[in-house]
Amino acid sequence: MNAQAGVAVQAVGVGKVFTTRSGAVTALEDIDLTVAAGEFVSLIGPSGCGKSTLLRLVADLDSPSSGELTVFGTSARASREGQQYGIAFQQAGLLPWRTVRANIELPLELHGVGKRQRRARAEELLALVGLTDFAASFPHQLSGGMQQRVAIARSLAEQPSLLLMDEPFGALDEMTRERMQTELVRICAESGAAVLFVTHSIPEAVFLSDRVVVMSPRPGRISAVLDIGLPDGQARGESTREDAAFFANVTAVREALHGGSVADLRGVDVR
């Protein structure tokens, strides 16, 4: 197992076929991907290319039709049961009868963490996502972006060593979005968590990631993997966004996406 110690996610030849009433849909085909522990990897690609599906396979919410998938050296199922990841879905999925605070505490509550500790952790997370004043509100009293932030806080509650995030910042305004990105970079640096991050925004992927995985649709495949090397040893910060290297990387990802035909670019934000 020593060889696996530094690997968070390993997919070898993973495929997923959905059988629907109108026939079989190949959502993913022959996916080879390795995410190292502590590494930040983004998935980017046009709508319907299987990004969410890949994330769900890693989360063991669906099982692959072919290939091998391991998470921290064990099966995806064992790692789900061992609570090794936190997940934020494309839809917030909050419980409407629970306050914001109680929603954030849910994972801790289900795993038997004491009341006092839950409280303390929830306070930290509320501050982190800027919702301290809304702790006692109910989800329907929040905007879509605020609900999404509650879901992000919930995914972080147990300080997981792997974070799975499906367009978590999609519903946020540009300012909150940039602030949350900076926070996420900080959290990952502090906790050493690996992240598998789905996004439609090229600048977001480039800013956050160590590597950007570009996918193409029908069937969903990996068409390119780009290393986003930061100028030696430099940490990500607000200045990174104005870097020449940043723009060069944005261009590189955009060109990798264009590698397919332009018609395939629907759904990708190329600002």
């Binding site: 919410l61 999925g93 009868w97 849910l106 289900l110 329907h140």
Partner: protein
């Protein structure tokens, strides 16, 4: 309802107000029919299109009310009709609530089983629907017969238990249907979340499905209470149980020619009883307000 704007008053005040308005509308309609339709009804070519509306068949609302204050029977020392109706209603209400409780437990249990196992849903759903097509009247003697054979030590089956059991047979249906819909109501994202948190089926039931079912369950419980009353009344009649409102409706109907207001008073009491039962159960809903975000009914 423009008279009672939503939001301006608390929900229960509005609902009670609407109920009273509906009652008033019914009284007005009743008297209007008496006023417009001739006493002999409307008969075309020997076929009766509208019923007779004489004071004999359709007494005035106020004569029914006045009748309530007079003694039940001509025997000396008889209680007022209102008193007799209240005593009988209380008898029936207690049996109905017992039946309701049994029905709720059975309905909830069925719904949980059907939600948990798809096979159980496919296997049980047709029987649940079918159960409601069997006429209660056919069932009553059977239940009484079976009950009569039950003796467990000091416990002996009583006639009222048969009535309660038959009432539960009606009450369980709306509860089972409402609870099943409620238990199935969590979104895919919510179910995935619980799965990602490795929550057991039982945990998911208590922390996700049950709370999500409350908005569906509260109206179903209210409806179940009303059907339990109907079931209890029908069961009283068909099992020949003494002491309840069902018995009174039958015996008063026999005196209809001489005392037409009397059976109508008993029928009105039965209707009020249904409303009271539904109202009492509605109080349960007040305690569950937190879970009722987005309730429709």
């Amino acid at each position: 309802m423009s008279l009672l704007r939503a939001g301006a008053v608390p929900g229960w005040v509005r609902r009670t107000g609407e109920g009273l308005l509906a009652l008033l509308a019914f009284v007005v309609l009743w008297e209007l029919v008496k006023l417009v339709v001739p006493d002999g009804g409307v008969v075309v070519g020997g076929v009766s299109l509208l019923p007779r509306t004489s004071d004999q068949t359709m007494p005035h609302v106020w004569s029914v009310l006045a009748r309530l204050g007079r003694p039940e029977t001509s025997a000396t020392g008889s209680v007022s009709l209102a008193g007799a109706l209240v005593t009988a209603s209380w008898f029936t209400l207690r049996i109905s609530l017992a039946g309701w409780l049994v029905g709720v437990l059975a309905g909830l249990g069925l719904a949980v089983v059907m939600q948990r196992w798809r096979i159980a849903e496919d296997a049980l759903a047709p029987w649940v629907v079918l159960s409601q097509t069997v006429p209660l009247i056919a069932l009553a003697p059977l239940v009484v017969g079976w009950g009569g054979k039950i003796h467990l030590g000091a416990f002996a089956w009583d006639r009222w238990m048969s009535v309660a059991l038959i009432a539960s047979y009606l009450a369980f249906f709306p509860v089972a249907v409402g609870a099943l819909r409620g238990l199935q109501s969590p979104t895919a994202a919510q179910v995935d979340l619980f799965r990602s948190l490795a929550a057991s089926g039982t945990r998911t039931l208590w922390r996700l499905r049950m709370p999500a079912a409350v908005p569906y369950l509260v109206p179903a419980l209210r409806l179940g209470a009303a059907t339990a009353v109907v079931g209890a009344i029908v069961a009283e009649v068909s099992t020949g149980t003494q002491g309840g409102i069902g018995r009174l409706i039958i015996s008063y109907a026999q005196s209809a020619t001489g005392d037409p207001a009397k059976p109508w008073a008993a029928i009105a009491a039965a209707a009020v009883l249904g409303l009271v039962a539904a109202g009492v159960v509605g109080l349960v809903g007040l305690g569950l307000r937190r879970f009722r975000v987005g309730e429709v009914a």
